[in-house]
Protein backbone atom coordinates (compact mmCIF):
# COMPACT_ATOMS: atom_id res chain seq x y z
CA UNK A 1 0.00 0.00 0.00
CA UNK A 2 2.70 2.49 0.93
CA UNK A 3 4.49 2.09 -2.41
CA UNK A 4 1.29 2.56 -4.31
CA UNK A 5 0.51 5.98 -5.76
CA UNK A 6 -2.58 7.13 -3.94
CA UNK A 7 -5.52 8.43 -5.91
CA UNK A 8 -7.14 11.68 -4.87
CA UNK A 9 -10.72 12.88 -4.90
CA UNK A 10 -11.70 16.24 -6.45
CA UNK A 11 -11.81 17.60 -2.89
CA UNK A 12 -8.20 16.82 -1.95
CA UNK A 13 -7.10 20.47 -2.04
CA UNK A 14 -10.13 21.56 -0.02
CA UNK A 15 -9.31 18.99 2.67
CA UNK A 16 -5.73 20.13 3.04
CA UNK A 17 -6.85 23.75 3.14
CA UNK A 18 -9.30 22.87 5.95
CA UNK A 19 -6.45 21.38 8.00
CA UNK A 20 -7.17 17.72 7.32
CA UNK A 21 -4.81 14.96 8.26
CA UNK A 22 -4.69 12.83 5.14
CA UNK A 23 -4.20 9.05 5.31
CA UNK A 24 -4.27 6.23 2.76
CA UNK A 25 -7.69 4.60 2.62
CA UNK A 26 -9.03 2.29 -0.10
CA UNK A 27 -6.22 3.41 -2.39
CA UNK A 28 -7.05 7.08 -1.93
CA UNK A 29 -5.55 9.87 0.11
CA UNK A 30 -8.47 10.69 2.41
CA UNK A 31 -9.08 12.99 5.39
CA UNK A 32 -9.11 10.97 8.63
CA UNK A 33 -9.82 14.10 10.64
CA UNK A 34 -9.74 17.89 10.44
CA UNK A 35 -8.58 20.40 13.06
CA UNK A 36 -11.39 19.60 15.52
CA UNK A 37 -10.37 15.95 15.83
CA UNK A 38 -12.44 12.76 15.79
CA UNK A 39 -14.28 13.27 19.09
CA UNK A 40 -15.55 16.78 18.36
CA UNK A 41 -16.32 15.97 14.73
CA UNK A 42 -18.40 12.99 15.86
CA UNK A 43 -20.39 15.03 18.38
CA UNK A 44 -20.85 17.89 15.89
CA UNK A 45 -22.46 15.45 13.44
CA UNK A 46 -24.81 14.13 16.13
CA UNK A 47 -25.84 17.70 17.10
CA UNK A 48 -25.63 19.69 13.85
CA UNK A 49 -24.51 18.65 10.36
CA UNK A 50 -21.32 16.97 9.21
CA UNK A 51 -20.08 17.05 5.63
CA UNK A 52 -18.17 14.01 4.38
CA UNK A 53 -16.21 13.37 1.19
CA UNK A 54 -17.03 9.80 0.21
CA UNK A 55 -15.88 10.14 -3.39
CA UNK A 56 -13.67 7.07 -3.00
CA UNK A 57 -16.79 4.95 -3.15
CA UNK A 58 -17.67 3.31 -6.45
CA UNK A 59 -20.60 4.80 -8.35
CA UNK A 60 -21.97 3.13 -11.44
CA UNK A 61 -24.99 2.78 -13.67
CA UNK A 62 -26.15 -0.69 -14.62
CA UNK A 63 -28.17 -0.68 -17.81
CA UNK A 64 -29.78 -3.40 -19.86
CA UNK A 65 -33.07 -4.83 -21.06
CA UNK A 66 -34.10 -5.66 -17.49
CA UNK A 67 -31.33 -4.57 -15.12
CA UNK A 68 -33.50 -5.02 -12.02
CA UNK A 69 -34.18 -8.70 -12.57
CA UNK A 70 -30.56 -9.20 -13.65
CA UNK A 71 -29.37 -7.66 -10.39
CA UNK A 72 -31.40 -10.25 -8.45
CA UNK A 73 -29.06 -12.95 -9.79
CA UNK A 74 -26.22 -11.67 -7.62
CA UNK A 75 -28.10 -10.24 -4.63
CA UNK A 76 -30.85 -11.55 -2.30
CA UNK A 77 -32.91 -8.33 -2.48
CA UNK A 78 -36.25 -7.62 -4.08
CA UNK A 79 -35.05 -5.42 -6.93
CA UNK A 80 -37.85 -6.27 -9.33
CA UNK A 81 -40.08 -4.62 -6.73
CA UNK A 82 -37.82 -1.56 -6.37
CA UNK A 83 -40.01 1.41 -7.25
CA UNK A 84 -38.75 4.43 -9.17
CA UNK A 85 -37.38 6.99 -6.73
CA UNK A 86 -36.37 4.40 -4.13
CA UNK A 87 -33.04 3.04 -2.91
CA UNK A 88 -32.28 -0.27 -1.25
CA UNK A 89 -29.40 -1.61 0.85
CA UNK A 90 -28.17 -4.96 -0.38
CA UNK A 91 -25.26 -7.36 -0.51
CA UNK A 92 -23.37 -8.87 -3.41
CA UNK A 93 -23.17 -12.63 -2.71
CA UNK A 94 -20.69 -15.29 -3.72
CA UNK A 95 -21.72 -18.88 -4.51
CA UNK A 96 -21.28 -19.88 -0.88
CA UNK A 97 -23.61 -17.14 0.36
CA UNK A 98 -20.71 -15.01 1.61
CA UNK A 99 -20.78 -11.26 1.20
CA UNK A 100 -18.55 -9.89 -1.59
CA UNK A 101 -19.58 -6.35 -0.64
CA UNK A 102 -22.49 -4.38 0.73
CA UNK A 103 -24.01 -1.66 -1.40
CA UNK A 104 -26.80 0.77 -2.13
CA UNK A 105 -28.78 0.36 -5.33
CA UNK A 106 -31.32 2.94 -6.44
CA UNK A 107 -33.65 4.08 -9.18
CA UNK A 108 -33.22 7.85 -9.12
CA UNK A 109 -34.70 7.96 -12.64
CA UNK A 110 -35.48 5.60 -15.52
CA UNK A 111 -31.84 5.13 -16.44
CA UNK A 112 -31.24 1.62 -15.13
CA UNK A 113 -29.90 1.02 -11.64
CA UNK A 114 -27.57 3.45 -9.84
CA UNK A 115 -25.27 1.56 -7.47
CA UNK A 116 -22.80 2.78 -4.85
CA UNK A 117 -20.28 0.25 -3.52
CA UNK A 118 -17.37 0.41 -1.08
CA UNK A 119 -14.22 2.10 -2.31
CA UNK A 120 -11.88 -0.71 -1.29
CA UNK A 121 -14.04 -3.29 -3.09
CA UNK A 122 -15.17 -1.41 -6.17
CA UNK A 123 -12.78 -2.81 -8.78
CA UNK A 124 -13.58 -6.38 -7.77
CA UNK A 125 -17.32 -5.67 -7.43
CA UNK A 126 -17.65 -4.32 -10.92
CA UNK A 127 -15.60 -7.21 -12.28
CA UNK A 128 -17.92 -9.67 -10.52
CA UNK A 129 -21.03 -7.89 -11.80
CA UNK A 130 -19.57 -7.78 -15.29
CA UNK A 131 -18.72 -11.49 -15.21
CA UNK A 132 -21.93 -12.71 -13.63
CA UNK A 133 -24.27 -10.50 -15.63
CA UNK A 134 -22.39 -10.54 -18.94
CA UNK A 135 -24.81 -9.93 -21.78
CA UNK A 136 -27.52 -8.73 -19.40
CA UNK A 137 -26.19 -5.43 -18.11
CA UNK A 138 -23.55 -2.96 -19.12
CA UNK A 139 -21.70 -1.12 -16.41
CA UNK A 140 -20.83 2.54 -16.69
CA UNK A 141 -18.54 3.52 -13.84
CA UNK A 142 -19.22 7.13 -12.93
CA UNK A 143 -15.63 8.13 -12.30
CA UNK A 144 -16.53 11.64 -13.39
CA UNK A 145 -18.67 12.07 -10.28
CA UNK A 146 -17.82 12.87 -6.67
CA UNK A 147 -19.98 11.81 -3.71
CA UNK A 148 -20.73 14.05 -0.74
CA UNK A 149 -22.62 13.01 2.37
CA UNK A 150 -24.24 15.49 4.72
CA UNK A 151 -25.42 13.93 7.96
CA UNK A 152 -26.96 15.12 11.20
CA UNK A 153 -30.15 16.63 12.64
CA UNK A 154 -29.57 19.93 10.83
CA UNK A 155 -28.61 18.38 7.46
CA UNK A 156 -32.11 18.61 5.99
CA UNK A 157 -32.50 22.28 6.90
CA UNK A 158 -29.12 23.03 5.31
CA UNK A 159 -29.92 21.16 2.09
CA UNK A 160 -33.47 22.53 2.00
CA UNK A 161 -32.14 26.08 1.61
CA UNK A 162 -30.53 25.10 -1.67
CA UNK A 163 -32.86 22.35 -2.74
CA UNK A 164 -36.41 22.57 -1.34
CA UNK A 165 -37.42 19.42 -3.24
CA UNK A 166 -35.06 17.39 -1.06
CA UNK A 167 -37.29 18.10 1.93
CA UNK A 168 -40.08 16.14 0.26
CA UNK A 169 -37.91 13.01 0.22
CA UNK A 170 -37.97 10.41 3.01
CA UNK A 171 -35.34 7.89 4.13
CA UNK A 172 -34.09 5.81 1.19
CA UNK A 173 -35.70 8.00 -1.46
CA UNK A 174 -33.46 8.63 -4.45
CA UNK A 175 -33.83 11.33 -7.12
CA UNK A 176 -32.07 12.68 -10.16
CA UNK A 177 -32.69 16.40 -10.23
CA UNK A 178 -31.19 19.73 -11.11
CA UNK A 179 -29.47 21.24 -8.10
CA UNK A 180 -26.47 23.33 -7.09
CA UNK A 181 -26.25 24.59 -10.66
CA UNK A 182 -25.78 21.13 -12.11
CA UNK A 183 -27.40 17.71 -12.37
CA UNK A 184 -27.27 15.73 -9.17
CA UNK A 185 -28.26 12.31 -7.91
CA UNK A 186 -29.45 12.59 -4.35
CA UNK A 187 -30.66 10.08 -1.77
CA UNK A 188 -31.92 10.66 1.74
CA UNK A 189 -29.61 8.18 3.42
CA UNK A 190 -26.12 7.79 4.81
CA UNK A 191 -24.08 5.62 7.11
CA UNK A 192 -24.08 7.46 10.43
CA UNK A 193 -27.53 6.67 11.82
CA UNK A 194 -28.52 10.30 11.34
CA UNK A 195 -30.91 11.88 8.91
CA UNK A 196 -29.10 13.29 5.91
CA UNK A 197 -28.32 13.00 2.24
CA UNK A 198 -25.76 11.56 -0.12
CA UNK A 199 -25.27 13.69 -3.20
CA UNK A 200 -23.50 12.61 -6.38
CA UNK A 201 -22.15 15.59 -8.30
CA UNK A 202 -19.87 16.09 -11.31
CA UNK A 203 -16.21 16.15 -10.27
CA UNK A 204 -15.62 19.66 -11.57
CA UNK A 205 -18.49 21.04 -9.46
CA UNK A 206 -17.61 19.15 -6.28
CA UNK A 207 -15.37 21.73 -4.68
CA UNK A 208 -17.78 24.62 -5.30
CA UNK A 209 -20.67 22.65 -3.77
CA UNK A 210 -18.49 21.51 -0.83
CA UNK A 211 -17.49 25.11 -0.14
CA UNK A 212 -21.05 26.37 -0.51
CA UNK A 213 -22.33 23.85 2.05
CA UNK A 214 -19.52 24.74 4.46
CA UNK A 215 -20.52 28.41 4.33
CA UNK A 216 -23.47 27.41 6.50
CA UNK A 217 -22.34 27.66 10.10
CA UNK A 218 -24.27 24.49 10.99
CA UNK A 219 -21.95 22.46 8.74
CA UNK A 220 -18.42 21.28 9.46
CA UNK A 221 -16.19 18.91 7.48
CA UNK A 222 -15.93 15.48 9.12
CA UNK A 223 -13.20 12.92 8.50
CA UNK A 224 -13.22 9.15 8.15
CA UNK A 225 -12.31 8.72 11.83
CA UNK A 226 -15.64 10.11 12.99
CA UNK A 227 -17.44 8.41 10.10
CA UNK A 228 -16.24 5.12 11.58
CA UNK A 229 -17.28 5.90 15.17
CA UNK A 230 -20.66 7.21 13.95
CA UNK A 231 -21.43 4.06 11.94
CA UNK A 232 -20.28 1.90 14.87
CA UNK A 233 -22.76 3.64 17.19
CA UNK A 234 -25.45 3.17 14.54
CA UNK A 235 -24.75 -0.59 14.60
CA UNK A 236 -23.86 -0.58 10.91
CA UNK A 237 -21.27 -3.13 9.76
CA UNK A 238 -18.08 -2.06 8.02
CA UNK A 239 -17.18 -4.25 5.07
CA UNK A 240 -13.76 -5.88 5.39
CA UNK A 241 -14.03 -5.78 9.18
CA UNK A 242 -17.47 -6.91 10.34
CA UNK A 243 -18.40 -8.61 7.09
CA UNK A 244 -16.32 -10.42 4.50
CA UNK A 245 -16.58 -13.19 1.92
CA UNK A 246 -16.88 -15.89 4.60
CA UNK A 247 -19.76 -14.19 6.40
CA UNK A 248 -23.37 -14.68 5.33
CA UNK A 249 -25.95 -11.91 5.64
CA UNK A 250 -27.74 -14.00 8.28
CA UNK A 251 -24.59 -14.30 10.42
CA UNK A 252 -24.01 -10.57 9.94
CA UNK A 253 -27.51 -9.78 11.24
CA UNK A 254 -28.44 -8.43 7.82
CA UNK A 255 -31.39 -10.80 7.27
CA UNK A 256 -33.51 -7.78 6.34
CA UNK A 257 -31.49 -7.63 3.12
CA UNK A 258 -32.75 -11.09 2.17
CA UNK A 259 -36.15 -10.51 0.58
CA UNK A 260 -38.95 -12.61 2.11
CA UNK A 261 -40.28 -13.43 -1.34
CA UNK A 262 -36.89 -14.66 -2.50
CA UNK A 263 -36.31 -16.82 0.59
CA UNK A 264 -38.90 -19.18 -0.83
CA UNK A 265 -37.66 -18.92 -4.40
CA UNK A 266 -34.03 -19.57 -3.30
CA UNK A 267 -32.87 -17.99 -6.54
CA UNK A 268 -29.72 -16.18 -5.42
CA UNK A 269 -26.09 -17.26 -4.87
CA UNK A 270 -25.60 -19.31 -1.71
CA UNK A 271 -29.36 -19.64 -1.23
CA UNK A 272 -29.11 -23.14 0.27
CA UNK A 273 -26.76 -21.97 3.04
CA UNK A 274 -28.83 -18.88 3.70
CA UNK A 275 -32.10 -20.82 3.77
CA UNK A 276 -30.56 -23.32 6.19
CA UNK A 277 -29.31 -20.54 8.45
CA UNK A 278 -32.72 -18.88 8.38
CA UNK A 279 -34.39 -22.16 9.34
CA UNK A 280 -31.91 -23.52 11.88
CA UNK A 281 -29.98 -20.44 12.91
CA UNK A 282 -26.42 -19.59 11.89
CA UNK A 283 -23.36 -20.95 13.73
CA UNK A 284 -22.29 -17.44 14.70
CA UNK A 285 -24.02 -14.11 14.89
CA UNK A 286 -22.94 -10.48 14.86
CA UNK A 287 -23.89 -8.82 18.14
CA UNK A 288 -23.41 -5.49 19.84
CA UNK A 289 -21.34 -5.35 23.02
CA UNK A 290 -21.26 -2.74 25.73
CA UNK A 291 -17.85 -2.89 27.40
CA UNK A 292 -18.61 -2.49 31.11
CA UNK A 293 -15.08 -1.85 32.37
CA UNK A 294 -11.62 -0.99 31.20
CA UNK A 295 -10.20 -0.14 27.82
CA UNK A 296 -11.98 -0.06 24.45
CA UNK A 297 -12.05 -3.51 22.83
CA UNK A 298 -10.96 -3.09 19.24
CA UNK A 299 -10.92 -5.28 16.14
CA UNK A 300 -9.25 -8.61 16.88
CA UNK A 301 -9.94 -8.68 20.63
CA UNK A 302 -11.15 -12.11 21.71
CA UNK A 303 -14.58 -12.59 23.28
CA UNK A 304 -14.85 -15.13 26.11
CA UNK A 305 -17.77 -16.62 28.02
CA UNK A 306 -18.17 -16.58 31.80
CA UNK A 307 -15.82 -19.56 32.19
CA UNK A 308 -13.09 -17.81 30.25
CA UNK A 309 -13.39 -19.96 27.11
CA UNK A 310 -12.87 -17.99 23.92
CA UNK A 311 -16.16 -17.94 21.99
CA UNK A 312 -15.68 -15.22 19.42
CA UNK A 313 -13.89 -12.13 18.26
CA UNK A 314 -14.49 -8.39 18.12
CA UNK A 315 -14.70 -7.20 14.51
CA UNK A 316 -14.91 -3.50 15.26
CA UNK A 317 -14.96 -1.51 18.42
CA UNK A 318 -13.89 1.64 20.08
CA UNK A 319 -14.91 4.41 22.39
CA UNK A 320 -18.41 5.77 21.80
CA UNK A 321 -18.23 9.57 21.91
CA UNK A 322 -22.02 9.87 22.26
CA UNK A 323 -22.34 7.33 25.08
CA UNK A 324 -19.05 7.97 26.85
CA UNK A 325 -18.07 4.31 27.15
CA UNK A 326 -16.54 1.68 24.84
CA UNK A 327 -18.74 -0.32 22.47
CA UNK A 328 -17.97 -3.09 20.03
CA UNK A 329 -19.46 -5.52 17.59
CA UNK A 330 -18.30 -9.06 17.11
CA UNK A 331 -19.32 -12.62 16.40
CA UNK A 332 -20.48 -15.13 19.02
CA UNK A 333 -22.41 -18.44 18.93
CA UNK A 334 -26.20 -17.88 18.88
CA UNK A 335 -26.50 -19.37 22.38
CA UNK A 336 -24.53 -16.36 23.65
CA UNK A 337 -26.17 -13.77 21.42
CA UNK A 338 -29.23 -13.00 23.54
CA UNK A 339 -29.52 -9.45 24.86
CA UNK A 340 -28.15 -9.19 28.38
CA UNK A 341 -25.70 -12.09 28.02
CA UNK A 342 -22.64 -11.41 30.16
CA UNK A 343 -19.37 -11.97 28.31
CA UNK A 344 -15.73 -10.93 28.53
CA UNK A 345 -13.60 -9.09 26.02
CA UNK A 346 -9.87 -9.76 26.26
CA UNK A 347 -7.87 -6.55 25.90
CA UNK A 348 -4.08 -6.80 26.16
CA UNK A 349 -4.47 -10.13 27.95
CA UNK A 350 -6.97 -8.86 30.51
CA UNK A 351 -10.59 -10.05 30.58
CA UNK A 352 -13.05 -7.17 30.91
CA UNK A 353 -16.79 -7.49 31.54
CA UNK A 354 -19.04 -6.88 28.53
CA UNK A 355 -22.73 -7.34 27.87
CA UNK A 356 -24.65 -8.14 24.70
CA UNK A 357 -26.82 -5.12 23.93
CA UNK A 358 -29.17 -4.11 21.14
CA UNK A 359 -27.94 -2.28 18.08
CA UNK A 360 -28.07 0.52 17.13
CA UNK A 361 -26.21 1.60 20.25
CA UNK A 362 -27.44 5.15 19.67
CA UNK A 363 -30.99 5.59 18.33
CA UNK A 364 -31.10 6.28 14.60
CA UNK A 365 -32.93 9.36 13.36
CA UNK A 366 -33.94 8.41 9.84
CA UNK A 367 -36.87 10.46 8.54
CA UNK A 368 -39.30 7.81 7.35
CA UNK A 369 -42.37 10.06 7.17
CA UNK A 370 -42.90 13.74 6.43
Amino acid sequence: MSDEVLKTTPLAAAHVEAGARMVPFAGYSMPVQYKDGVLKEHLWTREHAGLFDVSHMGQARLRGVSPLSAFEEITPGDFIGLKPGKQRYSVLLNKKGGVIDDLMAARPDDDGLFVVVNGACKDNDFKVIDNELAGQVTIERLENRALLAIQGPEAAAVIGRHLPAALRMVFMDSRAMPGFGTNILISRSGYTGEDGYEISVPNHQAQAIWNLLLEDERVRPIGLGARDSLRLEAGLPLYGHDVDETVSPIEADLAFAVSVKRRDARDFPGASRIAKELAEGPSRKRVGLKVLEGAPAREGAEIADGSGAVVGVVTSGGFSPSLGYPIAMGFVPPALAALGTQLKVIVRGKPQAAEVVAMPFVPTRYVRKI
Binding site: G37, V38, L39, G225, S229, A295, P296, G318, P321
Partner: protein
Protein backbone atom coordinates in the same frame (compact mmCIF):
# COMPACT_ATOMS: atom_id res chain seq x y z
CA UNK B 1 13.21 17.41 31.32
CA UNK B 2 14.43 14.95 28.69
CA UNK B 3 12.72 13.51 25.61
CA UNK B 4 12.59 10.44 23.36
CA UNK B 5 12.02 10.03 19.66
CA UNK B 6 8.76 8.27 20.59
CA UNK B 7 7.64 11.57 22.15
CA UNK B 8 7.80 10.62 25.80
CA UNK B 9 9.18 13.05 28.35
CA UNK B 10 11.05 12.30 31.59
CA UNK B 11 11.49 14.63 34.54
CA UNK B 12 13.95 13.53 37.20
CA UNK B 13 13.74 14.33 40.94
CA UNK B 14 16.53 12.52 42.80
CA UNK B 15 16.12 8.92 41.67
CA UNK B 16 12.42 9.23 40.73
CA UNK B 17 11.59 9.76 37.07
CA UNK B 18 8.15 11.08 36.10
CA UNK B 19 7.04 10.04 32.62
CA UNK B 20 4.48 11.41 30.21
CA UNK B 21 3.95 12.18 26.54
CA UNK B 22 4.84 15.46 24.88
CA UNK B 23 2.45 18.16 23.69
CA UNK B 24 3.31 17.12 20.14
CA UNK B 25 2.29 13.51 20.85
CA UNK B 26 -0.93 14.58 22.57
CA UNK B 27 -1.82 16.75 19.59
CA UNK B 28 -1.14 13.88 17.18
CA UNK B 29 -3.24 11.44 19.20
CA UNK B 30 -6.24 13.71 19.42
CA UNK B 31 -8.74 13.53 22.26
CA UNK B 32 -7.61 10.92 24.76
CA UNK B 33 -10.53 8.78 25.97
CA UNK B 34 -8.75 6.09 28.01
CA UNK B 35 -5.42 5.64 29.74
CA UNK B 36 -4.03 2.39 31.14
CA UNK B 37 -1.38 3.06 33.76
CA UNK B 38 1.02 0.40 35.13
CA UNK B 39 0.74 -1.49 38.42
CA UNK B 40 2.87 -0.20 41.26
CA UNK B 41 5.86 -2.46 41.83
CA UNK B 42 6.18 -3.46 38.17
CA UNK B 43 9.75 -3.31 36.87
CA UNK B 44 10.31 -2.11 33.35
CA UNK B 45 13.34 -1.89 31.12
CA UNK B 46 13.92 1.03 28.79
CA UNK B 47 11.82 0.38 25.69
CA UNK B 48 9.19 -1.77 27.46
CA UNK B 49 5.53 -0.80 27.30
CA UNK B 50 4.69 1.35 30.31
CA UNK B 51 1.20 2.66 29.63
CA UNK B 52 -1.43 2.67 26.89
CA UNK B 53 -3.19 5.80 25.75
CA UNK B 54 -6.29 5.55 23.60
CA UNK B 55 -8.05 8.04 21.36
CA UNK B 56 -11.45 7.39 19.77
CA UNK B 57 -9.66 5.89 16.82
CA UNK B 58 -6.70 3.91 18.17
CA UNK B 59 -4.64 2.61 21.07
CA UNK B 60 -1.00 3.72 21.34
CA UNK B 61 1.73 2.31 23.55
CA UNK B 62 3.76 4.57 25.79
CA UNK B 63 7.24 3.12 26.26
CA UNK B 64 9.45 3.44 29.31
CA UNK B 65 12.27 5.78 28.25
CA UNK B 66 14.36 4.51 31.14
CA UNK B 67 14.55 1.35 33.30
CA UNK B 68 13.13 1.28 36.81
CA UNK B 69 10.39 0.21 39.19
CA UNK B 70 6.96 1.81 39.12
CA UNK B 71 6.44 3.64 42.43
CA UNK B 72 3.39 5.69 41.51
CA UNK B 73 0.76 5.78 38.74
CA UNK B 74 -1.48 8.69 37.83
CA UNK B 75 -4.78 6.96 38.55
CA UNK B 76 -6.64 10.28 38.24
CA UNK B 77 -6.38 9.80 34.49
CA UNK B 78 -8.91 6.98 34.85
CA UNK B 79 -11.70 9.48 35.41
CA UNK B 80 -10.09 12.37 33.54
CA UNK B 81 -8.17 11.05 30.51
CA UNK B 82 -8.63 14.47 28.85
CA UNK B 83 -5.95 15.78 31.24
CA UNK B 84 -3.41 14.25 28.85
CA UNK B 85 -4.56 16.69 26.15
CA UNK B 86 -4.98 19.65 28.49
CA UNK B 87 -1.61 19.50 30.26
CA UNK B 88 0.44 16.72 28.66
CA UNK B 89 3.78 17.83 30.06
CA UNK B 90 2.63 18.25 33.68
CA UNK B 91 -0.68 16.94 35.12
CA UNK B 92 -1.00 14.41 32.31
CA UNK B 93 1.92 12.28 33.53
CA UNK B 94 1.43 8.50 33.55
CA UNK B 95 3.84 6.97 36.05
CA UNK B 96 6.82 7.55 38.30
CA UNK B 97 9.75 5.16 38.18
CA UNK B 98 12.49 4.66 40.73
CA UNK B 99 15.53 4.45 38.53
CA UNK B 100 18.94 2.90 39.07
CA UNK B 101 20.92 4.29 36.17
CA UNK B 102 20.92 8.05 35.74
CA UNK B 103 23.12 7.51 32.69
CA UNK B 104 20.00 6.47 30.74
CA UNK B 105 18.42 9.82 31.57
CA UNK B 106 21.49 11.79 30.56
CA UNK B 107 21.57 9.98 27.22
CA UNK B 108 18.08 11.24 26.24
CA UNK B 109 17.47 14.41 24.19
CA UNK B 110 17.19 17.75 25.94
CA UNK B 111 14.44 20.15 24.84
CA UNK B 112 16.54 21.86 22.19
CA UNK B 113 17.51 18.53 20.66
CA UNK B 114 13.88 17.31 20.80
CA UNK B 115 12.61 20.45 19.10
CA UNK B 116 15.25 20.08 16.42
CA UNK B 117 14.07 16.48 16.00
CA UNK B 118 10.40 17.62 15.69
CA UNK B 119 11.54 19.97 12.92
CA UNK B 120 12.68 16.94 10.89
CA UNK B 121 9.29 15.17 11.06
Amino acid sequence: MRFTKDHEWVALDGDVATIGITAYAAEQLGDVVFVETPEIGKTVKAGDGLAVVESVKAASDVYAPISGEVVEANTELGDAPETVNAVPESGGWFAKLKIADKGQYDALMDRDAYETYLGTL
